[in-house]
Symmetry: C2
Subunit: 426 residues, 2 copies
């Protein structure tokens, strides 16, 4: 097996060699028919099912180490695997196998006046580096999406989940072997040393893309240090703006969902902007709705003039991604003020407007440059599955290559075929 | 005017401030209707025409300085402006104004089972840094393309063309002013100091994309040092492969064009691969054709066994982008050998096959990952104009964001609009 190296190899040397093996594997993968890539995914799923007990034992080692270190309950929950979660991981690989082949599309196709026919077709990106934190299932998902799109991947999970990641990787490797796909298509470092992260970030020219998935500090470190292109979002400071012409029932339902459906996801709303014209009537109702769901508030002076017992927001609160049952609240005067607030405080991730006024909605959608802008829908829809991508490997808020949910399509690049009949250039 | 700073500003400070001004300008540009962007382009073209004499005088200063430094004739030719070249620069801006608006398209559009309608729409990239060498017209072209796509741009031309670039920039600024577009949409550093290049390369988070256009050493330096995403190609080591089933007349015409139409462009063929089955009959004819056009050769032993007076190729010759009237020649055994040679020696830029056999052509096109692969056409077609893009700002061979000719479409990113009717996420 080529995934465990002699202990005397340095992390930088291991990464260099692993990336070279991944490059060779990616060339094979790019030429494989869809059926072969899908077979590898299904075999990997089957191997995960067959090795469920081994994976659970490995996870128990990680949990035992975690319990002696005294981390948070939420973190432990993300780290823990059980039979249902292991089955879901295998199921996820089957579902990726069932998705349409992202390499089979023709992206564009036109004929020039001289008769040259030009086709733009998808091409795998090549070698992807995935850096993630506690959830061990992210490794299986990422391996599945990268493989389906014809890419090799090097997975670097959190050190807390090292044994779990290793056991999952062994199952995936077994699947690759069963489908006669190069094992180097999915690799993990042989140890949990953080130097492997640094080695990955420095592998310019060897790794084509790094996708970090985790908390803000992880992503910001990757963005600051990587010499390799990065597709990511550091935070999702998402806004819901309730315009004066909002349907109040719709506004109540959307805000409760956008804030409280799940508070820890990047598409959760962190700040409510509400028009001054509607706030006296609607804000008390919204506060009451959300309080019933366990939500706390940080409100500006204008909101507190309407609901006196709202805690006061500090200047920093409107720049805070709570990822918790807390909502910043500001009263604004119309759509331009809402846009201005979002441009000052937002993270270009996801924003929503609730209004029955199409002209106002259009202005809001055109005035922002966030990756996803919704009209009369919950910000929690910012998700690859909800977009119909089948699965996602993360969400991107940068300007290059892809924005919003990163699905199979975003894990490809393109190239041109030009079909001629002897044309020469004048 | 905000483009000339006090002399005591350091290059890093100037770039920091310029990027902040560019960011503000880009937000205005992104919201401008097409007519306003086009008016700025036409006004800039008109100002270049009106200031033709001033631009020529500035260019004369650059040429005088160049003549005392004793550079090459080819370099001087690239640097020199005359009334025809200045008129062409203005005409180029009018032509960009006449191109379809890259921001007006809907890139994709679908409706989810829950009724959410999702639209993927274009978005300007933001702030672009353009680094180029001697040709002063590149600055006008780049400004035009960036503006049309709603981007602000900072232009850093070669120090040899500083006065020319400055005079062109003044004309463009006049055009922006006449069209009431923020002047900071197009900026150039106030001095020719190379530290401005370093400042641009380090402006992570402030500049969204750097496009270097010039020789291999410039591009490689930018790629190695930039902390900002780069769209570029370091070299175009392009191959033409003549398969055994090629039409010989077509093969002769394509090769002569691919190598000799212009030898200094990145899409020029640098290496001929010819099948062993056809080489004894065809290679002598090809050599004779190209010799008549002034081409020299570096040939492997198998080619020299057929045409004895071909100069012998060294090992490095097949890795050399000649950009001159020189052709490397290797005899190969079939399409797999041709693909193997290109994967070992190519630069993922442009390759062509000449064959009447569709299965072989398909194998060649599928077996390579170069940005452009042509069948029965000249490699010199790798060009934004020839692709129908109207104009190009460069050619990219990397994997992220865009590959091949970089036209207006490639100077945009995208975002999603999601149109609902009160949907909340289950």
């Amino acid at each position: 097996m080529d995934t465990v190296q002699a202990a005397h190899t340095t992390p930088a040397q291991w990464m260099h060699d692993a990336a070279a093996r991944a490059r060779a594997a990616s060339a094979v993968l790019a030429g494989l028919p869809e059926a072969a890539r899908n077979a590898a995914l299904r075999e990997a799923g089957a191997a995960i099912r067959a090795r469920a007990a081994v994976i659970e034992q490995a996870n128990a080692r990680d949990l035992a180490a975690f319990d002696t270190s005294g981390g948070s309950k939420a973190f432990r929950d993300r780290l823990a695997l059980n039979p249902a979660r292991i089955a879901a991981m295998a199921q996820g690989l089957d579902e990726i196998a069932a998705l349409p082949d992202p390499l089979a599309r023709t992206l564009a196709d036109w004929t020039r006046p001289n008769g040259l026919r030009i086709e733009r077709i998808p091409q795998p990106l090549g070698v992807i580096g995935m850096i993630y934190e506690s959830r061990p299932n992210v490794g299986a998902d990422a391996a599945g999406l990268c493989l389906k799109a014809g890419n090799a991947v090097i997975l670097r999970g959190g050190s807390d989940s090292f044994h779990s990641a290793r056991a999952i990787h062994e199952a995936v490797t077994e699947g690759l072997r069963a489908a006669a796909v190069p094992e180097a298509a999915v690799q993990i470092p042989p140890a949990s040393d953080r130097a492997y992260v640094a080695a990955m970030l420095g592998a310019a020219g060897q790794i084509d893309l790094i996708i970090p998935r985790g908390g803000k500090s992880l992503v910001e470190r990757v963005q600051a240090e990587a010499r390799v292109p990065v597709l990511a979002h550091a935070e999702g400071l998402c806004h819901t703006y309730i315009h004066a012409a909002a349907d109040t029932t719709m506004a109540r339902e959307i805000l409760a969902n956008a804030k409280m459906r799940r508070t820890g996801v990047c598409g959760a709303t962190e700040t409510l902007l509400i028009d001054a014209a509607i706030a006296p009537a609607l804000l008390p109702v919204l506060v009451s709705d959300l309080r019933a769901l366990g939500c706390d508030f940080r409100a500006d002076a204008r909101a507190r003039a309407i609901v006196a017992d709202l805690p006061a927001a500090s200047a920093a609160d409107f720049d805070t991604e709570w990822l918790d049952a807390v909502l910043s609240v500001a009263v604004v005067d119309g759509v331009e003020a809402a846009i201005g607030h979002i441009l000052r405080h937002g993270s270009e991730h996801t924003e929503a407007i609730v209004t029955a006024d199409e002209a106002v909605a259009t202005r809001f959608m055109r005035g922002l440059s966030s990756a996803v802008v919704l009209w009369n829908a919950s910000t929690q829809f910012c998700d690859g599955g909800e977009f119909g991508f089948g699965a996602e490997i993360g969400i991107a808020t940068g300007r290059m290559h892809a924005r919003g949910p990163i699905g199979l399509e975003q894990l490809t690049t393109f190239r041109y075929l030009v079909l001629g009949s002897g044309q020469i250039r004048p």
